[in-house]
Every structure is written in structure tokens, then in C-alpha cells.
Symmetry: C2
Subunit: 527 residues, 2 copies
């Protein structure tokens, strides 16, 4: 079970079939594998050693895909970098992972002087763009991706001397929980997830998967290796924008792809939505954060030919733990079916899950506790952090830090990240539950519910809201609306209207940043 | 990747859904897993130790399925026995595998005195029938399956303390190549195959899979673990008969199943075929031996709602190496598509294949050589036969002994078992090629082409034929028919009409037995 084997198989079985569509670039599977073999060979030529780290500071492109196969095929370790990071944060990762090679897109060239200074162990910087873009480089001393490839002989892609338990990639967590940690995913981890994903999504060789969410994040990466496994095609959108997605839907006619909920929300709310032909799309996976039920219902209505699949997981699980299948996305069904829209679905075939109390004992159906999971897709550990690893993986079970309950049919309902849960007057408030109510208000475009310091209650519930243009909604009106549907202690005490809510590079709302403004200098007096 | 994990997952996700249909017995997934947990617990109560062997001398039944999960879940090793073996042959396997527990169906009770005598290490014999069948046991001292289960407490199925590289099953090869060998398949081997199979067959929870071919054989077993993985249902036919299959098609309405080619031939030729409703069937997998193209064409015509999938493999590969998908079963398509009907298909995602010359070097497209394969589904080795294992697996590659060529799109065409190939006057004749021509003759119901001793040519091509009733075909007529389509040296020199061709318990034609009659006392002077 090695990452490159999927591509090797596809290059034999789907030789002349389109594998890559990226602007003017289209490649067959034979060409894709051939170029990947050259990526691999070029690493050898640069003196890179097996096990060395090679990082990617790139937007979405077919070259990202080639590197996701070529680096592990060589036995080196890929390190996809969050493109939203500052040069200092990038340098932290480069040093933490002791990266030797950095592949870079032109947008990030301005970071180079600072990166070279802060990460002196960096040996090679490779400019991974079309040949015509060479001018962008200016005085920077870099190697050129296409030149490196052109210098290598034609040879078949192979993957010898690699063990399935070798680390294929180091995926740094967004740092939403303090210091960014390198998640070590092995070949077996990623390939197991690919099988789970391909089975659940029923990908086939007829699919064209659009990489529209950032490829550095495993929300998109969840499907990357699965699509290749069955010989589907990969289409690429360099960076997400609602119009960009709609345009590619019309021009490239993809059949499937992943969008995080905030992206779906933006696409559906695009004023020109109706002008685009989106009829090719059959399946949209979403994940990375919970999807407000109202947004989902809108999606089902506006994209009637689309089945929605929710995947719940995290980088540490390569990333999928559960899937709510298209069939279980019933809008206007029975009460149980409607309730399931709020669920992350059921454990995929190879994954075992439990909801446990703080002592690690399994809780009965319906009770909220921490989700723990095990399976062949669970990470090897955190890079150079044996203590963090030992805290996260105990007795073979990975402790997710997510609070959830299971129903009698083993559908899991994630109520909150443990750290996003608000404790007010001794009562637990799950921010997601409150957000789901607020999203039902017609004026709410986006919202985040957090706990802020409160002298009386320890924490108080606060909602941060981006209102729709010209909605004219007031704090009082929205609080009254929430009061109709929520127990008193769950209703936001205050509402703040903002122009924008801070998000991670993967589009995940950063509640920590919102909270930090209120908690500066204070200690949370609940645990 | 443990065999029981698939069932554990299904019992949570598909709790109240039908898992088993077998005559008057139907069980949900929760019940199936609950009974399997009792099978496991009862092994402990009998003093069976982890790693001990428990054999099954049973026809198809839901209890077979429970044992295929329960024995490995305990950490013991299942040994499915070919039901066509004589008591002496069974005793050979029982002794070779040092079997401690034997599960038995009533049809085989008469073997017990001889088995007890020849296999004295046997500790427990368990009668695996309904309670009402107890009378059949007579004076035999046996334990009763249902009594053992009834004595165990209700508890969830678990699988702790087992490693994925532990042996889950010993599958004895039919002995078509000399001494019967125990193929050691690990949990990982079987689960890898299950993923490959589920993906290729696109099994879903809506499928009802009919176990009509013998469950002791991995032709049927190829799908067993895959169907559970996705929450499909298992239907059982105790023993194959064409009418039995047609009846279950009508009554149980299965959607899919495996039949070996000779079975498909018998079902299609059943005089009452048209009287049965077979409309529920959507996908038939076939394998175990090559399918004459004429039979396949007839199947496509008579079962217009059915997609045919050919799987090529062997016990040593758990068993699938390649699949010719439904889409590639095009009758009346282009010349290339028609040609593909004779192909075993392409390597499944996790499998690598090569066609090599006798020195192990890969041969170019179109050239015939031996197929070698590697992947997570390749056996651990032969039980207690390190030398045979070392001959079969070299440098991580399994040498199949099958002669084949690949086309430019990596479709594999198995021309013959190496040992079934006839060498006449220095020319290689692939028996399958000649059989494919003979099957086009309207009088031929079944045939087998073998090499017989010949003073001039070393070997001469001989066809053994079961003619259709009242066809009145003659040897001369069929030879003349073959001459129109085959080069002179491939045309059978003689034809023998027989009432029946010897087959293995799995329905595979035993060419060795046919050959033995002619080669007794002679040495084959070709290699």
C-alpha cells in the first residue's frame, strides 16, 4: 500500500485517458506518471536523500499533484504548506521539519529573502511554474521545475525500497490549537483513506474531480489519491473564488469535488450564480467544518442534480473518519432524516469509533463525549513531538478532541470542538448548535459563536455575525429570534456585527482568533 | 485491517438491516455480529487456542459465513474444506493443518468414523445445522452449533489482540497440481481483496449477494468480505443446481453473485430457464476458469439486465488479480471490444502485474509469458512448505504459473495454465484457444482440450467433449469445423465424446484427471 502504486496502476489501465486538466495543460495518465517519474529522478539528481523533506508553497496546480506522487515515490516526505501563513510561520515549519527543498509558486517569491534568512538549511528552491513565467523570478536564485524535468530521461514510474509504514507526508495542522504540529502520515495511512473515500464517494473513471479548495489541506486531499485509484481525472482551480468555481463548472464540466461549507455558502450566494451552467456536477463533498443546516438546504435546492456528501475527520485521520452519504442528505424527509442533516455520518469501513467520557469509557447512545477512533488511516504521530503523540494516541486510539454523540444507528453528531464549547453558569453550550439557529435568520450571511469572559457566569455566549448587505438586522431582533428556539442559557447575550470573520487558509473559521480579542490577559476559569 | 472489523462496522452502521437470508433464517447485521461473537466465545470455551485451526466441512449456509468471521475474530485459523474430497483426502488436510475443531454438515456425517480414525488429533466435531436436525447425528458423539451459541452471553463482537499479518485462513488448493497445499491468507490479504473487489464491483448496501458457488472456494469468497464491508446482504443456496439458482433468483431476488463459467453454462442451458423471473440480478461475477466467449455472448443475450464481470486470480491472491468490468463486456462492439471479451481484464488498484520470460524479465506487449504479481493481497506462503513458498514468491513477486500476454492497455489475456499448455512438434498450443473455437460449434455443451502422448509429435492435441443431447455430431465434423478457424497444428487430432467431464468441487474442469488416463506409465518428454 504505497501512494505511488495507485498512479502506477492508473498509468497502465488508463494510459491514454485524460488525467489532468489545468488551464492549457492536459495530460493523460501515461504522461502524468511519466512526469512524476521525472520529479522523482530530479530529486535524486539534486542529492536529496530518502526521508528528506520537500515542502510545497504553492496554489492549486497539476504540479502540486505531480509532487504529491513524485516526492513519496522517491521515498522523501512531502510537506504541503498553508498558503495563508506569514513568512515567519512558514519559516517555523521549514525549520521544524528541517526542509531541504522548497517548491514555490510566483505569488510567494517575495517571501524568499526572509525565508532564506530564517531557514538556512533550505538547499534548493524550485520555481514550479510554466516556462514563460521565468521573468517573475527576477534576481532570485532558483531552479526551474520544467527544466529539471526536461533534463531527466523517460522512464516508467516505480516505487521500490519504500515501506508502507514510511512517512509519505508531514501535514502541519493549522495551528488553531497553539503551536503548529507536523502530522506524520504514512503511505498506508493515505492509501487506506483513499480506499475508504473511493468506496464511500463511489468514484469511477468517468469522474472529473475539481480541486477548488486548497490542495495543501487534506479536506481536498481526502479525494486526491482516491480519484487516481479509479482512473478519474483531476481538474484544478489555482485559487478559490466563487466566480472561479462557477466558471470552471461551466467550462471544464467536472462531476465532483470538495468545497468547505463557507465556500459553498459563497458560491450559492454569488449574485451571478444563475448565469452559469453547473449541470455537470453530480457529487459535492464538504467537510473541514460543520455545515449549517440552512446552508445545506439551500444547496440541495439550488443544485438539484447534486448529491452532497459530508466527510468528518481531521488531518490526523488522513483525514476521513465518517461520511454522511448522498442518500442520507434528505431534505424534506421524515423528522429522523431531517435530523441526520446535522450529522457527520457513519464511520467508514476501516474505521472504529467510540464516544467516551473523560476516563475513556464508552458512553451510551445520545450522550455527549469525546470521539476517539482507530484504523489504518490514523497518523503515525506528531513530528518530533513524542509527548504530544502519546497524549493524542492512547492504547491505539486517537483522541480527537471533538465532542459528539452517536444515535442508535451510529450516526455521529459533532456538537463542538472541545475547546469551542462554552461553559456558562455550569451549563455546556455547543457553539455549533447556536450557529445553526442563527443561520436560519434571513439576515445572517456568516456567523461564529464563542464564549467571552463574564464575571457572573464564567463565560457568556457571544455571536459574531457578518450580515447580508442591506439586511438592516439589529442585535435585539436576532437575539429575540434565537430566544424562540433555544434554551435561555444558550441564547447569545451580545452580538457583534463584523465585515469579515477570520478564517484559516482552508476556509475554516478561526474561533480562537475571535476569542483572543476578549481573553487577552484573562485566564479561562473553566476546564 | 482485520477480517472481523468489516462486520463490526456493518453491525453498527447497518444494525437493523437484513444481513442474511437463508431459507427460513433471516438475520440483521446486529444479529449476525451477535451470533459471530458467540461463535468466537464458544471457541474459547472449548479450549481452542489462538492460532489453532478449525475446519469447515459444510455446504453453503449462513453458519459458514458466521464461521468465516467468528474463527478469525477469535484469532484462530479457518480451514474451509472442498466438499468433493474423499474422506482420505479430507484426513490429509486435517492432519496437514493439525486441525482441532471440525464443523460439519449432515451430508458428511457418514465420513466421521473414518475421519476420527485417520485424523486422531481432531478434538471437537461440531454439528452446524438447525436444532431440528439433531436426529441425523445418530450415535456420533458431536457438539451442537446452536447449543454452543445458546450457552454464550450476549456481547458485542470485538477483535483485540490480533495482528493484520496473522493468518486468518488456510485455503487448500484443489490439488490440481499434485499435493494439496495450504495457502496462508492473512487478515490483511483478505481485507485488501475485499476493498479491491468492492471498488471494482461497486457493491453497495442495496445489494443482495447470492452465495451459489461453493463457499469453501475463494471464487465465491472473493466477494464475501466485500459485501459485508458495504452492508450488503448475503443470500445462500446450500448447493448449486441450475434450477436451484433460478428458483432463488425468483424468490429471494438477489442483485448479484458469482457463478463459475460451467455453472453459467448450465443455468443458461436449463430447459426451464424462461419460466423464472431473473430480473433482480444486475451483476454476475465469474471466474475460477476462463469463460468460453460463446457462453458469455449467450449470457449477455439471455440476461439483458445483467452486467458481467470477470475476475481472474487464484487462491494465492486472496483471490483477485484482474477484473474485466461490466463496461468492458461489450458484445457486438468494435473489433477491439469483442477481443476484450476473451481478456481477464486489468489489474485491480492495489495489484501490480508483469508478464515475464523464464528468466523473470518483463516481456513486451503482446508476447506470451508467465504472469507474476505483487500486492497486499498476495499470500503469506504455503503452510509448512517453505521450499514451495520460496519457489512461488521470489523477490516479493508471486509466480502464478499462468501463461498470458498483455495488450497495449494492460488488459491481460490468459492463454493457459502453464501445465495445460500442449507442446506438439515444438509448437505451443494453448488449450483455451482451441476450446474457444470448439464452443462455437452448436453441438458442444462442454469441452476440454488436453495433450496426449504421441510418438511423432511428443504430444498431440485431443478434445474431450460433452455433446448436447441428440446433436448427432461426429468427430470428423467437429475436426473439420476446427480446421476452418485454427492453424493445422492446433486442430485436435482426435475427439472423445464423454457423458461428463471431471470437475473440482468449485466446478473447475480437472484436465489433470483427463490427462492421467493417457499418461499413466509415460513420462512427458517436453518441459
Amino acid at each position: 500500500m504505497l501512494v505511488p502504486k495507485g498512479l502506477m496502476n492508473a498509468s497502465r489501465n488508463f494510459k491514454g485517458k485524460t488525467a489532468i486538466i489545468d488551464g492549457k495543460h492536459t495530460y493523460t495518465y501515461e504522461q502524468f506518471a511519466g512526469r512524476t517519474a521525472k520529479v522523482k529522478r530530479s530529486l535524486a539528481k539534486l542529492g536529496v536523500k530518502k526521508g528528506d523533506r520537500a515542502a510545497l508553497l504553492m496554489l492549486n496546480s497539476f504540479r502540486y499533484l505531480e509532487l504529491m506522487y513524485g516526492i513519496p515515490a522517491y521515498g522523501a516526505i512531502m510537506v504541503p504548506l498553508n498558503v495563508r501563513l506569514t513568512p515567519k510561520e512558514i519559516a517555523f515549519v521549514l525549520n521544524d521539519a528541517d526542509v531541504r527543498v522548497l517548491y514555490i509558486h510566483k505569488e510567494f517569491l517575495p517571501y524568499l529573502p526572509e525565508l532564506r534568512q530564517l531557514a538556512p538549511n533550505l538547499q534548493h528552491i524550485i520555481f514550479a511554474e510554466d516556462e514563460g513565467e521565468a521573468l517573475a523570478v527576477g534576481n532570485e536564485s532558483v531552479l526551474f521545475y520544467e527544466e529539471l524535468l526536461a533534463a531527466q530521461p523517460d522512464e516508467p514510474l516505480t516505487a521500490d525500497g519504500i515501506d508502507e509504514d514510511d512517512v509519505a507526508g508531514l501535514f502541519y495542522t493549522g495551528g488553531t490549537t497553539g503551536r503548529s504540529k507536523g502530522v506524520m502520515l504514512t503511505h498506508k495511512n493515505l492509501v487506506s483513506n483513499a480506499y475508504h473515500c473511493a468506496l464511500m464517494m463511489q468514484y469511477t473513471e468517468e469522474d472529473i474531480y475539481l480541486h477548488a479548495a486548497p490542495m495543501f489541506h487534506l479536506a481536498d486531499g481526502a479525494s486526491t489519491f482516491a480519484v487516481t485509484l479509479v482512473g478519474g481525472a483531476h481538474a484544478h482551480l489555482r485559487a478559490f473564488s466563487p466566480k472561479g468555481v462557477l466558471q470552471v463548472y461551466e467550462e471544464v464540466k467536472p462531476t465532483c469535488g470538495l468545497l468547505v461549507p463557507t465556500m459553498i455558502n459563497m458560491v450559492l450566494n454569488d449574485p451571478d450564480f444563475a448565469q452559469y451552467d453547473v449541470s455537470s456536477v453530480r457529487r459535492i463533498m464538504y467537510g473541514g467544518s460543520p455545515m449549517p443546516v440552512e446552508v445545506l438546504k439551500k444547496g440541495v435546492k439550488m443544485l438539484p442534480g447534486v448529491q452532497f456528501f459530508q466527510a468528518y475527520g481531521m488531518t490526523e485521520a488522513s483525514p476521513i473518519l465518517t461520511v454522511l452519504t448522498g442518500k442520507n442528505h434528505m431534505v424534506g424527509g421524515t423528522a429522523e432524516e431531517e435530523r441526520r442533516l446535522a450529522s457527520g455520518g457513519q464511520a467508514v469501513p476501516g474505521v472504529e469509533m467510540k464516544v467516551v467520557d473523560p476516563e475513556g469509557s464508552e458512553l451510551p447512545v445520545g450522550e455527549v463525549g469525546e470521539i476517539i477512533a482507530r484504523g489504518p488511516n490514523i497518523m503515525k504521530g506528531y513530528w518530533n513531538l513524542p509527548e504530544e503523540t502519546a497524549r493524542a494516541i492512547r492504547d491505539g486510539w486517537y483522541y480527537t478532541g471533538d465532542m459528539a454523540y452517536a444515535d442508535e444507528n451510529s450516526f455521529y453528531y459533532v456538537v463542538d470542538r472541545a475547546k469551542d464549547m462554552i461553559i456558562t453558569g455550569g451549563e455546556n453550550v455547543y457553539s455549533v448548535e447556536v450557529e445553526n439557529v442563527l443561520y436560519q435568520h434571513p439576515a445572517v450571511l456568516e456567523c461564529a459563536v464563542i464564549g467571552v469572559p463574564d464575571e457572573t457566569w464564567g463565560e457568556a455566549v457571544k455571536a459574531v455575525i457578518v450580515a447580508k448587505q442591506d439586511s438592516g438586522a439589529t442585535e435585539e431582533e436576532i437575539i429575540a429570534f434565537a430566544r424562540q428556539q433555544l434554551a435561555g442559557y444558550k441564547v447569545p447575550k451580545t452580538i457583534e456585527f463584523v465585515a469579515e470573520i477570520p478564517k484559516s487558509g482552508a476556509g475554516k473559521i478561526l474561533k480562537r482568533e475571535l476569542r483572543d480579542r476578549f481573553w487577552a490577559g484573562k485566564t479561562r476559569n473553566v476546564q
